[in-house]
């Protein structure tokens, strides 16, 4: 029987391994990171980063959504915790604005790769129409931005569209979202 040369054998092994990786993993998408993160946090992959937030929303629906979003993150295995002391860095507020398509947004400033200030808003105009899980999804999504995650595609928390998040049944951090956090903190 003719022996297959070593180089060819290696090539075959590589092709089979790559095919196995491609066909067995369902991680077809990857997280994206904001251009900044929070300073003074533990090394990447170490538990846990702490970000201080405070609820400033005026509508009960928004307050509930923020509370549920915080619980979704803090009860997940993500290496980040959102603390709520009386003095905090990020205000979690709301508006009631019919003049745009945004149901939640996070605004931030950064310098030299670190956040310098940040605020997050839920748009009551939209979330008042949402079931609890969908409004929690928006709040948890904004908390993902607060942590330093940018938008990405697929059935993940950081997908930019609420209809996609809702149709995927997602309102908590997924593996890909948690991987993004672990890459930063």
């Amino acid at each position: 029987m003719r022996r297959i040369p070593v180089v060819r054998r290696l090539a075959i092994v590589c092709v089979i391994s790559l095919s196995l990786v491609m066909f067995t993993t369902n991680q077809a998408y990857a997280y994206h990171l904001e251009p900044a993160r929070w300073n003074g946090q533990p090394a990447p992959g170490t538990c846990c980063a702490h970000v201080t937030v405070g609820k400033e929303a005026t509508h009960a629906t928004s307050l509930t959504a923020w509370s549920n979003g915080i619980t979704a993150w803090n009860s997940s295995p993500a290496l980040i915790l959102f603390d709520q002391p009386s003095s905090y860095k990020v205000g979690l507020a709301d508006i009631d604005d019919a003049g745009n398509s945004s149901d939640g947004r996070t605004t931030y400033y950064y310098l030299f790769g670190y956040f310098t200030s940040m605020s997050a808003w839920l748009n009551y105009h939209w979330i008042k129409l949402y079931p609890l899980s969908k409004s929690q999804g928006v709040a948890a999504h904004e908390l993902g931005h607060i942590a330093g995650l940018d938008h990405t595609n697929g059935c993940v928390l950081m997908v930019p569209d609420s209809p996609t998040r809702a149709s995927c049944g997602i309102s908590t951090p997924q593996t890909d979202d948690r991987n993004g956090i672990a890459a930063m903190y």
């Binding site: 398509s101 149901d103 609420s162």
Partner: protein, 182 residues
């Protein structure tokens, strides 16, 4: 004493240069990330949720305003000349209200939904939030760019529509509009 003075001036000049350098490479710009309420993957859903779908050209900036809402977000209003009302009807020029812009030294950018450029042509899925005033649905998703007779989605769009000639894309949207309910 003279040497000390020169040293102090040198340090001062260095600090000014560093500050200018830092602000040039890391501008103090307010960045906005948005979750979109009404961005849909299919043309059918976009049309079903739109007040209007138009084809036309951005002809000017109509003003920049700071929102009276608590977030004080900056919006830019654009004048948009409508060449064709694909869905809905209205006047030949409409106002587009879009997040982002600059007022004084304050600048707000929305990376997912870049500002319109005067002269650019688009097919837009719109919501009329006040008479004659519209915003684009779902940020980048409600916005097809028209270049050299071809219409295509922009980066960050969720809309699954094949790029094609402007006529063919208009036809796809119009056929969805007129399709009978199942």
């Amino acid at each position: 004493m003279k040497r000390r003075g020169k040293f102090a001036i040198g340090v001062l000049v260095g600090l000014v240069a560093l500050t200018i350098g830092a602000l040039t490479t890391h501008p103090l710009k307010e960045v906005v990330d948005s979750s979109w309420a009404n961005a849909y993957p299919t043309t059918k859903e976009m049309v079903a949720n739109a007040d209007a779908v138009v084809m036309g050209t951005v002809v000017g900036v109509d003003g920049v305003e700071v929102s009276p809402q608590a977030d004080n977000l900056i919006y830019t209003n654009y004048s948009f000349r409508v060449d064709k009302w694909i869905v809905g009807s209205g006047s030949s020029t409409i106002l587009l209200h879009q997040m982002g812009g600059a007022v004084g030294l304050r600048e707000v950018s929305v990376p997912d939904d870049p500002p319109f450029v005067v002269g650019e042509s688009n097919v837009l899925f719109l919501t009329e939030y006040a008479p004659g005033k519209y915003y684009v649905m779902g940020g980048p998703t409600g916005r097809l760019q028209v270049q050299n007779g071809t219409a295509k989605v922009i980066a960050g769009s969720s809309l699954q529509i094949k790029p094609g000639s402007l006529e063919s894309v208009i036809q796809v949207i119009a056929s969805v509009k007129t399709a009978p309910a199942p």
